[in-house]
Symmetry: C2
Subunit: 129 residues, 2 copies
């Protein structure tokens, strides 16, 4: 049985307020502004719960720590190799690649995880100036 908690609300509210795909540590720092004595363990536990229930997305883009996304809708991301930022991509879904992968494969493809890397609009602009 799941009980409401001020801490979990604050975490979700913060994630909804940003498009920056923060790490657990960043979530912690920001939520501390409204709940100064929140524990880092609480942040981790709630991020795990929220990811489990599908209310948020966990992004593992190869960096040292996972990132979280308050938008649980299926969408894709790009990791900027210049500034490290993770940005949303507005693009069509790629469900068809599951079919490509499944052709000739003896098992079952249930889905995929994908992210792109390159240079974000800001860094691309800066490097051509």
């Amino acid at each position: 049985m799941i009980k409401h908690s001020r801490q979990r609300d604050a975490i979700l509210t913060y994630l909804h307020s940003t498009k920056s795909h923060p790490t657990a540590e960043t979530v912690y720092e920001n939520v501390r502004e409204s709940i100064p004595n929140i524990s880092l363990g609480t942040v981790y536990r709630n991020l795990n719960m929220l990811a489990e229930t599908g209310d948020i997305l966990r992004l593992s883009c190869g960096g040292t720590s996972d990132r979280y996304d308050g938008n649980p809708e299926q969408h894709y991301h790009i990791l900027c190799r210049e500034c490290g930022r993770v940005s949303d991509l507005e693009m069509a879904g790629l469900e068809h690649i599951n079919v490509i992968a499944g052709a000739g494969f003896g098992g079952t493809i249930e889905g995929h995880f994908a992210y792109f890397y390159g240079c974000c609009p800001e860094c691309t602009k800066n490097s051509t100036e």
Copy 2:
């Protein structure tokens, strides 16, 4: 300047001998059979070097530890949600998704990372028996 080393050779030889995408720990355990006192730090250092030079691939499929692949050619993987195994997929390249992602994106797409998840042939077979 890069010097030859028996340890690095053994690591590469082991990775070439398997299709199992082992973790650093598994590489360590196996290479210890030929070099019993090899250090875990040496395994990590060489796996990083080999990944850096492009001789092997590092796979970060969301699990707790990275995995390594002795085949440096671009190819895709499937993570079995049943047994945790990571297997190679024989399938066409997906370079076209970079174009899809780049459409309407202000920055530059250089490439993508993708893996599939589902059920490997062995587990699919077992679950339908």
